[in-house]
Symmetry: C2
Subunit: 452 residues, 2 copies
Amino acid sequence: MKEGTNQLLTVIKGFLATKDEKHLKQFLLDMHSVDIAEVISNITDKSDKQYLLAQLDSEQAALVLNELDAEVVADLLQDVSSERVSEILDEMSFDDAADFLGELSENDKEKFLDLFEDQDAEDVQELMDYREDTAGGIMTTEYVAIPDSITAAKAIEVLRETAPDAETVYYVYVINLKNQLVGVISLRELIIASPDSIIIDIMRKNVMSVNVNEDQEDVARLVAKYDFLAVPVVDDKQHLIGIITVDDVIDVIHEEATEDLYRMAGTYEAEEDETLARFSTAFKSRLPWLLITMMGGMLSGQVLKNFSEQLNTVVALAFFIPLLIGMGGNVGTQSSTVTVRGIATGQINTTTVLKTVLRESMVGISLGTVMGAIVALAAYFWQGSIQLGLVVGLTMFANMVTAATMGTVVPLLLKKVGVDPATASAPFITTTIDILGLIIYATLATLLLGIL
Amino acid sequence: MKEGTNQLLTVIKGFLATKDEKHLKQFLLDMHSVDIAEVISNITDKSDKQYLLAQLDSEQAALVLNELDAEVVADLLQDVSSERVSEILDEMSFDDAADFLGELSENDKEKFLDLFEDQDAEDVQELMDYREDTAGGIMTTEYVAIPDSITAAKAIEVLRETAPDAETVYYVYVINLKNQLVGVISLRELIIASPDSIIIDIMRKNVMSVNVNEDQEDVARLVAKYDFLAVPVVDDKQHLIGIITVDDVIDVIHEEATEDLYRMAGTYEAEEDETLARFSTAFKSRLPWLLITMMGGMLSGQVLKNFSEQLNTVVALAFFIPLLIGMGGNVGTQSSTVTVRGIATGQINTTTVLKTVLRESMVGISLGTVMGAIVALAAYFWQGSIQLGLVVGLTMFANMVTAATMGTVVPLLLKKVGVDPATASAPFITTTIDILGLIIYATLATLLLGIL
């Protein structure tokens, strides 16, 4: 893919150098808007960017701008006539326009909003008012709906007149006189139906919908579960107010997977360009977890300080600290990852929660038994002390059972009290496990080595 | 969602108790196949499951079975007449049938394959031969293609005759006489075109396709990038052999996100039901990383053993081991997570790789400076030794720079040599960082405390 973009970039740069407007226009016409956007992002000269944009018709320009960052777009459109900007904005789908305007400063927002037609401006404003992570925030108001009382022939006529984009006619929604969603019919079903049949008689009446305030993750789960291409959005009174299409759902899935992964690692850069985010953002987003880990490390140190008499007597006890800490953290991370992911994909729910906890505890006990035995033997042969082997082996066992159980129960409890379980991320759980593990180690060593 | 299924389950159980076949059938007709499958999974009695299945027509039965585990399906179909099984299999899409058969034992596979019509059996067998994680493994051979030389009117006639499912007509692909993909046209474009126009004149000639051997992750990235509903699959000679639809792409995205997350945590349960996987699978999948971590822990212990003279003299050195290890591992995990995710989403590529390494190293240096200073001061006030503060602070700094750099460079190098970077997972990187960190600690302590 990447090489393709590089080739395109080279060709375009050639056109820009020779100012061969005719061939450039022809070439751009055959390009996908996503690729044009990528080329524009990779060009450094602003006037070159604007020149490219000027070669596009307003429909293609709208698609291209939709792929670029809002700030870049606002900058590119600065010197463009408001007539042309208005034309381009009219070609944007309302949800894209709302997303674009939503990222701008209040000042720019007003300026661009004024360039929409009155009714459109209202629709876009309404979309901006929904919370970004709800169904309302990702829906578009450009859908196809027909009344339930007309004939199939009339419906096809209505569709031809409203001339929707091919992409948005996955399903044709059916509404009653109160604008309430009552059914759905596919374009193909409409075409093969007898022209005189009434929609209400040929539509499917069982139509799944989502409430406008529903969380975008739940919407994504629904679409993924039923393999929908689009899902209608209704308000509390069942009025049809929008649709959510599968491409937006894919974005949600990507976004949520990235967020979960980052949270598990204790870093919070959830913005689109996180990998390339400015270094200061990266620095700030990671510092909090590191400070918490540091507090945990200090606490661990305090545990060891109280334990210094034993450490002074049997310095070999210190050799096993990295091992015990590493293994406990490892098991805790594994358990919490499986649990967080299970909650995200919906595989862990009220009916399977007990099974999950039981299974993870069993895994902890089994892993603890095996690893405890191995480590005890290794410690014995390495240091030549049975008591030391026993202490290390028993600590390993206790540590792994604690880690597996905590790694499972903490995310579940957080979910129960309404906190995103991914926030019960590895750093927090492992730090807690470290401290508990050292307390267990110190206690067992005192008890068992005290009777040396 | 969940409550919905529970309600459905209650109603169905009522029907089963009263054997009210007529109303049960009506009720099932209105249910979504995904929900019926969920109800069947939640019923324990096998004869009840079979009774429910018997109430469905073969089309619905195929959709329902498609949602269930292959083994469950094989079990359910055991006592069903081969005529009925044959009917149901005929209704399955070829890619679903291939997935189903692929999970069965050789014996069962042969048995079911015999129940397909000859041509269908061949198609399904062909699909089974593609590697599961390639374009061929997720494509279906049921697509709509028309020759480039016919008229729009004739094309619509062809479409009516082949009577495809509404869901599969996202795009109509155009082929030449050699069955090579040459264009694409939407159903809507066909309908509004003048009936006499020739397809080659009205189709879009720029059609993106994927090679049958392309990695499923790359296919998913392409579909997500361009917001496609389906993408055509071609062989090396550009012959059209299948399509991949967006619902299968969503499954790939879910699967890959889960796999990456699991690999980062050193657990490998990539099967669909991983969260509820049998405990033995969980045990086995996690043991390898734990053993590697153990070896790392032992190595760390060996480093400390060589360091025991200093530990014996200044036992306070041991107090900081959990802190230093925890922080290094933490930063390493953060950096590798950002890098692995950036590679997966395509944000890190040849043009941005240097920027990424530079940024992460800068983050490491800055975090190291801040945290090193804090820890040095804390150590000084806590233990009252300037030298000790200096050793701990400098180790922290060196540790964090190493961790951030390793966490970024190791996944990138693995990607370069063709290994899945998610395998450069947290346990491996943190273990290495632990050992390096302790060596730095021991060296600095020897140098700086030696001149006490």
